[in-house]
């Protein structure tokens, strides 16, 4: 089918073209919101084409398209997806209309800039996931910073400008060594193509010392973006200042995907050498994030630290170099995308009604807002990792898979699971149960728009918790290729 050849290009151009149209639209009524929703729904429909025609039995990349771009520098426009990026693209597609709906009333000023930049961000993220040329990838990676920084600066509460600068410098400076590393590889191999480079690194004997430095530069840039402890300094401020629709996509996916594809995938040996360190940092981050979350009084800050903790789980899975745990890690990236988005939306819903992110501001809301309370509890349980819900699968695979490789670290990580249950359930308890705060104004329960956002997410939490076979085979075969011979099958010790 011809569509398969350029579906990814279409996915990249539709949101971008949408952004241009939004910029030209009149700022009247809900025209801009409606149009953006249309664009994102169209994008979602197109992303669904990918799993529908994906051949899970085949290894390697599918829907590939390769065109020369800047020939004299050896840069190609090369895109394609495998079982890993496939689901991340779909997730990005799914979260976009949800983001638009969540911003529907929350964004009251400068809607035009907001929605145009939102769509640019969409293109940049899909671009990161589908690029198979290092320069193209780097381009989208950097491009994804601009709309985010601009929107934080424009829509941040009080310290938007500062948070935007912090976010930008934290993520921009590490990409300088990344670019040097990419250029060094180019100098050695004369190519930017992912697969060619991978093969070249696997067979050629570079000076291995330099290759360790190169791999480290890659790891550093990605670790900041995830963020891995102790590079998480930007996250809390960004979460507090960023609009809901953007905060729910900023952390996790981009960095973790890049780690898997461009660090572990390109430099399996060097990554394996670095793995014990990364695993250690991941477990520290996991516990640190959970403890910090326990101490927060602001919901968004609590969420920021819980994100550090949850993403460390994914990092642990990826760097345990056991296939089972890596599958769990990838699954957990998807889970966190869904449940994290849901919890962000729910907090946004609370804020729209009561105008505060202070936890103490709330109390005893379950009686007044039963639907909201239900969704909040379900989402919390998914984040905590209750069996039958999606979070459990990921956490279980990560812990059981990596235990033989790093028994002590993983035993400590299990403590993190308990802590995460503690802070999430305590949060639920403080907001929805306990003594009712009489001063809270009365507010309506969830409206139609909010139901439309939350039902698909809640349904996915359940489905991903019971029907794992729809996702795991594609992820597993992709991971087999990525890790190559650097792991020892299912559950085996190193």
């Amino acid at each position: 089918m011809a569509l398969n050849d350029y579906i990814l290009t279409l996915l990249l151009t539709v949101p971008l073209a949408g952004a241009f149209v939004v910029w030209l639209l009149p700022q009247k009524g809900k025209v801009i919101q409606g149009f953006t929703l249309l664009v994102t729904l169209l994008t979602l429909a197109m992303t669904l084409h990918l799993p529908a025609h994906f051949d899970a039995a085949r290894t390697g990349f599918q829907y590939e398209q390769k065109l020369p771009w800047i020939e004299s520098l050896g840069i190609n426009y090369h895109v394609g997806v495998d079982g890993l990026s496939l689901w991340l693209v779909v997730l990005t597609g799914l979260l976009a209309p949800i983001g638009v709906l969540a911003s529907w009333n929350a964004i009251q000023k400068r809607e035009k800039q907001f929605y145009a930049l939102f769509l640019v961000q969409q293109t940049a993220m899909i671009g990161v996931f589908v690029s198979l040329d290092l320069i193209l990838y780097y381009g989208f990676w950097e491009l994804s910073l601009i709309p985010m920084a601009a929107l934080i600066a424009m829509h941040g509460d009080k310290h938007g400008g500062k948070a935007a600068l912090k976010f930008f410098t934290y993520t921009f400076i590490p990409s300088a060594p990344l670019l040097v590393a990419i250029l060094w590889l180019y100098g050695q191999t004369r190519t930017f193509d992912y697969e060619t480079l991978r093969a070249a690194i696997a067979t050629q004997s570079f000076s291995s010392c330099s290759l360790y430095w190169v791999a480290l530069a890659f790891l550093f840039a990605f670790a900041v973006k995830v963020p891995v402890f102790p590079l998480h300094g930007w996250l809390a401020d960004t979460f507090v200042e960023a609009p809901t629709a953007l905060a729910m996509v900023v952390a996790g996916k981009l960095g973790l995907y890049s780690m898997l594809r461009f660090h572990i995938g390109l430099f399996p040996q060097q990554a394996r050498a670095a793995a014990p360190w990364v695993v250690g940092l991941a477990v520290i981050g996991l516990l640190y994030g959970a403890c910090m979350a326990l101490a927060q009084r602001d919901m968004k800050r609590l969420l920021a630290f819980s994100t550090v903790s949850h993403l460390s789980f994914c990092t642990l899975g990826l760097y345990s170099f056991v296939l089972l745990a890596a599958d769990g890690g990838v699954y957990q990236i998807l889970n966190h995308g869904i449940s994290g988005a849901a919890i962000f939306v729910l907090m946004g819903v609370l804020y729209e009604r009561y105008g505060s992110y202070e936890i103490n501001h709330y109390g005893g809301l379950a009686g007044k807002l039963p639907w909201l309370a239900t969704f909040f509890v379900v989402t919390s349980l998914s984040l905590v990792g209750l069996p039958m819900l999606n979070g459990f699968i990921g956490e279980f695979l990560v812990l059981s898979g990596s235990f033989p490789a790093y028994p002590r670290w993983v035993a400590a990580a299990t403590l993190g699971v308990i802590l995460s249950a503690a802070y999430m359930l305590w949060l639920v308890q403080r907001i929805f149960y306990g003594k009712e705060n009489k001063q809270l104004p009365s507010a309506p329960d969830l409206g139609l728009r909010e139901h439309l956002i939350l039902w698909p997410l809640a349904a996915l939490m359940l489905v991903m918790g019971v029907a794992t076979h729809a996702w795991l085979p594609a992820i597993h075969s992709a991971n087999e290729t990525t890790y190559g011979s650097s792991t020892t099958g299912n559950g085996g010790a190193r």
Partner: protein
């Protein structure tokens, strides 16, 4: 086949000078009260004709004229194109920005054209005295233009620029004299031939050093950069748009012709000197820019840093290195003219609002200019899909390939630091205005300004997204130098 007549080889320069004279004559014959803005359009038309002439010239076979002093080839064509485009854009900005009642408006436009002819001549000269001649024509015009506003700061700027500039030119001239002493010729190819057979060319080394000082001043590379911020701050913004780009492009052309054309045998020496200059310029420029409150001063330091990025390309003694340097001049010119266009509009002709805080809410006061400001800043930072990224990428790629990994790392870390101060301006521009006065919409400019905006924006985006043609042109230009 008919040989190309000598005068055709300098046709663009002839067109520029003739238009300049025409502008002056018409200016003198007009009454005191007559509108002089149309003279700007005449000057722009003259520049456009020079641009077209240099494009046509590039289709003719390359060759020398006037006793081997001038050479028209792919190299000179590339720089003619860049310089004429810059002058054209700067003229269009001036037509919009310079108030009608300012004195001697005709001379202002004429000086642009004379300066342009000097810069163009520098890029096609292959004989050192002619290079010097071009350098002087271009410099004297810009000295006068820097002081055009006749305010205290503007005059200070002009005098500083003039004193330090003539000092630097003297260095260059002294170097030329020494080269003549060492080799008995001022022809670039002659110098190269002579030096190839010399064992320890002490005098030539000294000459090279002196010329590097002179040119280092002209491109504002550290440690010869001190004049830059004061001069940029005092001079009118449209003039800064010109003098921060076109004379620098011309000086880089001379630097390339001299280092690769006349002193290839000494490349071990100048390579290292220029690498040190590159590292110094990038670091000093960026660190100093971090602390600036005035946008024009900040951009002055940023231009020092950009000169440093460009010098990184000299680390690779190869055609790719030349091509990267050439390409970078084009990207730098496009984005820097663009940013000064917006600064000129935002801060006003008298620089009332040139502080970073004055830019607060700019994107809401002038949505079109504000959005484009973000694009230019992104390009200066080096965000992919803009000219700035491709330029930096090429420069650092050749440097790292040639083994100067440390320089690449210094440069790219520097560009990370640079992101910080460019972003401060961007953050100020997107911040909500605090007072009603700050929320007043700004007039977004007439046809001339829109045209200049279109030229610069299109260049930044084309060089960023589809740079293949420009890269090929730069590569061709590089090959003519290497085989000269």
């Amino acid at each position: 086949m008919n040989p190309v007549p000598d005068f055709v080889r300098i046709l663009p320069e002839i067109l520029l000078v003739v238009t300049g004279l025409l502008v002056m004559l018409i200016d003198a014959s007009l009454g005191k009260a007559a509108a002089r803005r149309p003279l700007g359009w005449l000057a722009a038309a003259g520049t456009l004709s020079a641009l077209i002439a240099s494009l046509w010239l590039s289709t003719l076979p390359a060759g020398v004229a006037y006793f081997g002093t001038v050479k028209s080839d792919a190299f000179s064509a590339f720089f003619h194109f860049v310089i004429c485009s810059v002058v054209l854009s700067a003229l269009l900005i001036s037509i919009d920005a310079v108030p009608e009642n300012s004195h001697h408006l005709g001379e202002y436009f004429a000086l642009f054209l004379f300066g342009a002819s000097g810069m163009c001549l520098m890029t096609s000269a292959v004989e050192l005295l002619l290079v010097f001649l071009g350098l002087e024509i271009s410099s004297i015009s810009t000295y006068v233009l820097a002081g055009y506003r006749k305010s205290a700061t503007s005059t200070e700027s002009a005098i500083k620029y003039f004193l330090l500039g003539s000092f630097a030119t003297a260095f260059f001239l002294y170097g030329v004299a020494m080269v003549f002493g060492a080799t008995g010729t001022t022809q670039l190819t002659g110098i190269a031939d002579k030096l190839a057979n010399t064992q320890t060319p002490v005098l030539a080394l000294l000459a090279l050093g002196l010329m590097l000082v002179g040119l280092g001043f002209k491109v504002s590379a550290a440690p010869f950069q001190v004049w830059t911020p004061d001069v940029y701050e005092g001079a009118p913004s449209p003039v800064v748009a010109l003098m921060s780009t076109a004379p620098k492009a011309a000086a880089f052309a001379v630097l390339l012709r001299i280092t690769y054309g006349a002193f290839p045998s000494l490349h071990g020496t100048w390579e290292h000197l220029l690498m040190v200059m590159a590292a110094l310029s990038m670091t000093i420029g960026n660190l100093a820019a971090l602390r600036q409150k005035n946008v024009k001063r900040m951009l002055a330091y940023s231009s020092i840093a950009h000169a440093g990025y460009l010098l990184v390309a000299f680390a690779a003694f190869s055609p790719d290195g030349i091509a990267a340097a050439i390409f970078y001049t084009a990207t730098y010119a496009a984005m820097n003219v663009g940013i000064f266009l917006i600064v000129s509009k935002a801060s006003g002709y008298d620089d009332r609002g040139a502080l970073i805080e004055n830019f607060r809410g700019f994107i809401y006061r002038a949505p079109l200019l504000g959005t484009i400001l973000i694009v230019f800043l992104a390009s200066l930072i080096g965000i992919p899909f803009t000219a700035g990224f491709v330029g930096k990428f090429y420069v650092f790629a050749v440097a790292i390939q040639s083994g100067a990994v440390w320089l690449g790392l210094v440069g790219l870390l520097n560009s990370g630091v640079a992101g910080f101060y460019y972003l401060r301006l961007a953050a100020s521009a997107v911040k909500a205005p605090a007072t009603a006065e700050e929320a007043q919409p700004i007039y977004q400019g007439g046809f001339a300004l829109q045209l200049a905006l279109l030229i610069t924006l299109a260049s930044v985006l084309i060089l960023g997204v589809a740079p293949q043609r420009a890269l090929n042109a730069a590569k061709n230009a590089a090959l003519t130098i290497q085989t000269q």
